[in-house]
């Protein structure tokens, strides 16, 4: 049975997630090069290509980190190939150093960057980010689909725009778009047949001053052109309902769906402007829309980016316009349909009969939250059980990081005193040990995180002589997000055999002398190694590689 997502039955309607819609859109655009670093809620983009790349003749890799993924994708796009790069919001933070000048230089082959935000932090520790802010930082054009069908359509549009204006285009999803299932009508899969060739052009690809300032100017001109020629005219910025009204709603992304649901429920006919372009915004279209109203409501998740833009535009044309947004809707957490319903009702002075919410009465039935936990048989049980026996948890600082081992935060272990981003546990550990050498500290880092961004921190700790104990939780896969390969695995994302990088070789090359590699099933040996490392008097970094594969590989 051929997988539905690569079906050639044009016109067939199938169910896809938003992320799968992105994949299909790329396939229908003749994509040839795809790179990603996994992260919920973006992972299905990479996972799907990982499965189908060989069958459809597309190059795919899970890169070492998001910055490298973007750089690899850019190299392919500089060489003329159509390229897709996928990551979650935090990934763009990692990639941003390269990302900013990439928007300046632009590309030859079409390049689409998919970034998925996670309002409510369903699967994201560290912070609740709104990636749209990167529009003002970098000027990159950003499209925001609402449904899986739009994910496909917007991806195709993005490839065309990217090639026409020689600029990367971002598609920004949120969790309820990325993991929303819906009907997608299939178009034709286009097989990309371009031969990649990098044509020397330092004028475009070397961002040296003073040329870099010219590039900035050219970028701003490009954006102005995209605004006038595309965004102002595009059907993805669409007005729904053209009846006479004194009030209107401006919205985007999944919020649009909640607005339409609220209007249906309240039996209201309020004109709605749905913006598929977040950047550049169609200023004239927005002005034309808001001009006739007494008041408008802006419905968007997270930060009030649209609301602020519209307030500026309103000053030119409609000084009396009342603009509502974050005064009726939360800036924290995702929007829910009932919140939007309430806001729309309040905004339109429609009475909403809300029954008091019934609550569970029986106190015995107020069950606690079911925390996620290590899978039965997970090697990390062994590591943390050994640590429980080796140390007094009250007297040791535990540095956490992004990966399955962050579940040690929850019962029964509570082994996590700080948690920030990928690669940070060792960096912070070094600073703590330099400031407070008497305190004992164990810093955890997974194999994929170590490759991703842990290595520079280890080098720093060794070179600058602090002495944390670093436990590299080597389960030989990127387990949390679905067992994707990383540089340590013996197979590439394309399924080719390679010799995986050896963590111990890297650790030794960083200058670590106190290194042990232990399978945590050997509990006694593990406990002894932890005790020895914490109690030694040498002022040096100690590393234990806890090596035992994830039970699912």
């Amino acid at each position: 049975m051929t997988e539905e997502i690569i079906s050639n039955k044009v016109g067939e309607k199938i169910i896809l997630l938003g992320n799968e819609g992105i994949v299909r859109g790329a396939l229908e655009s003749g994509v040839q090069f795809v790179s990603a670093y996994p992260g919920t809620p973006s992972s299905e983009v990479g996972n799907t290509f990982w499965r189908i790349a060989k069958k459809v003749g597309v190059y795919f890799e899970f890169s070492t980190n998001e910055k490298v993924a973007l750089e690899a994708g850019a190299g392919a796009a500089f060489s003329g190939l159509r390229t897709l790069v996928s990551m979650k919001h935090f990934g763009l933070n990692v990639a941003s150093d390269f990302f900013m000048p990439l928007v300046y230089s632009g590309v030859k082959g079409g390049m689409v960057i998919l970034v998925a935000d996670d309002p409510s932090c369903w699967s994201s520790a560290q912070s609740e980010e709104d990636t749209r802010a990167f529009a003002s930082l970098s000027h990159i054009p950003i499209l925001e689909p609402s449904t899986p069908q739009e994910c496909k359509d917007f991806t195709k549009l993005a490839f065309d725009l990217s090639e026409k204006f020689q600029i990367p285009i971002m598609i920004r999803e949120t969790t309820r778009v990325a993991l929303q299932g819906g009907i997608v009508k299939l178009g034709k899969i286009v097989k990309g047949k371009r031969k990649g060739k990098f044509i020397k052009d330092p004028h475009q690809f070397s961002t040296m001053p003073p040329r870099v300032l010219e590039m900035k100017k050219e970028l701003l001109e490009k954006i102005e052109k995209i605004k006038k020629q595309i965004s102002e005219k595009s059907l993805i910025n669409k007005i729904y309902g053209n009846n006479k009204s004194e009030i209107g709603i401006v919205t985007s992304s999944v919020s649009f769906l909640y607005v339409m649901e609220a209007l249906k429920y309240l039996n209201l006919n309020i004109p709605v402007l749905k913006l598929g372009f977040f950047h550049p915004l169609p200023d004239k279209k927005i002005k034309g829309f808001i001009n006739k109203f007494k008041k408008i409501l802006v419905v968007e998740e997270l930060e009030p980016h649209l609301e602020k833009e519209i307030k500026v535009l309103a000053k030119d044309i409609n000084l009396k316009l009342q603009i509502f947004g974050k005064d009726l809707l939360s800036e924290t957490g995702e929007l829910r349909p009932e919140q939007v319903l309430k806001a729309v009702a309040e905004f339109s002075n429609k009475k909403l009969k809300i029954k008091p919410v019934l609550k569970i009465k029986n106190p015995k039935l107020k069950i606690p939250k079911r925390s996620p936990q290590f899978c039965p048989g997970c090697p990390y049980w062994l590591v943390f059980n050994a640590l429980k026996k080796a140390v007094d948890p009250k007297k040791v600082i535990f540095g956490g990081e992004i990966g399955c081992y962050m579940l040690a935060f929850y019962p029964p272990f509570h082994f996590q005193d700080y948690l920030f981003c990928m690669g940070s546990s060792v960096g912070v550990a070094h600073g703590i040990k330099k400031s407070s050498n008497k305190q004992k500290l164990i810093s955890f880092v997974g194999d994929s995180s170590f490759f991703h961004s842990g290595i520079p921190a280890l080098l720093n700790a060794v070179h600058n002589k602090s002495n944390p104990l670093i436990i590299i939780m080597d389960n030989q896969t990127t387990a949390m997000t679905g067992h994707q390969p990383n540089p340590g695995t013996n197979k590439t994302s394309m399924g080719n055999s390679v010799e995986g990088a050896k963590i111990e070789d890297i650790v030794k090359a960083c200058g670590v002398k106190n290194l042990k590699i232990i399978n945590p099933i050997k509990q006694k040996e593990f406990i002894k190694a932890v005790k020895d490392s914490l109690n030694n008097k040498i002022n040096e970094v100690s590393v234990i590689i806890a090596r035992r594969p994830c039970i699912y590989i």
């Binding site: 049975m1 539905e4 309607k13 199938i14 169910i15 919920t40 809620p41 992972s43 299905e44 369903w122 699967s123 994201s124 520790a125 449904t147 969790t175 309820r176 993991l179 929303q180 299932g181 819906g182 009907i183 999944v254 649009f256 769906l257 909640y258 339409m260 649901e261 249906k264 829910r336 349909p337 009932e338 319903l341 029954k355 919410v357 019934l358 569970i360 009465k361 029986n362 015995k364 039935l365 107020k366 069950i367 606690p368 939250k369 079911r370 925390s371 996620p372 936990q373 290590f374 899978c375 399955c404 962050m406 579940l407 929850y410 019962p411 029964p412 949390m480 997000t481």
Partner: protein, 198 residues
């Protein structure tokens, strides 16, 4: 076409996502528009899982839009783990005539000292819904097919045989065939049919 809203809740690993896919595809076969919502990643590792499935009209004033179901607006709530019903109840209401199907199966919550009896849970849930049914799905599939993960498909068969949702039996079977790996299709079909002949 009237809209129909289903919540499926359970614990990571119980097949909630697969069940969601089966229902969504079956709804397409029956000519509905479909929206679903699910979560992946961190929260799924042994944590609570809750998915939303809505189907209804493709166009016109009854068209469905949101992938999420509003509180109190579910027509059917399937709980593959009984304690999860104590969270999913917010989507039920007597006005919506919500039907509650609760698997008579408890997976203890780590760190919780109390494991409430299923009958106490049912009693409480009855305050929110006129039709609360408990089904020993896990027990039956374990006894007859020796695979607890089939409980969800068994409940689907049960729901179909009792006409509790407007999806056709043959559409669901076709959808199961298209959703589960080929080698497991017959086993899934057995679990589905098991309930039909009860």
């Amino acid at each position: 076409m009237k809209e129909f809203n289903i919540i499926i809740s359970g614990v990571g690993g119980q097949g909630v996502i697969t069940l969601t896919r089966i229902l969504a595809k079956a709804a397409i076969f029956d000519g509905y528009d479909v929206r679903t919502s699910e979560l992946h990643g961190l929260s799924q590792k042994g944590g609570s899982v809750e998915t939303h499935i809505r189907f209804g009209s493709m166009t016109g004033s009854k068209q469905i839009h949101s992938p999420l179901i509003k509180k109190g607006k579910a027509n059917l709530i399937i709980c593959i783990e009984a304690q999860e019903s104590l969270k999913s109840y917010i989507y039920s209401s007597k006005e919506s005539n919500t039907i509650f199907l609760i698997n008579d199966f408890i997976k203890p919550i780590l760190g919780s000292k109390i494991i409430p009896p299923v009958k106490d849970i049912l009693k409480e849930i009855k305050r929110f819904s006129k039709q609360v049914m408990s089904i020993p799905a896990s027990k039956i599939v374990k006894e007859k097919l020796n695979k607890e993960v089939l409980a969800g498909v068994y409940i689907l068969g049960w729901t179909t045989s009792k006409n509790l949702f407007p999806l056709k039996r043959k559409s669901i079977l076709k959808s199961i065939e298209k959703t589960v790996p080929k080698k497991y299709f017959l086993l899934n079909k057995k679990a589905f049919d098991l309930a039909n002949y009860d």
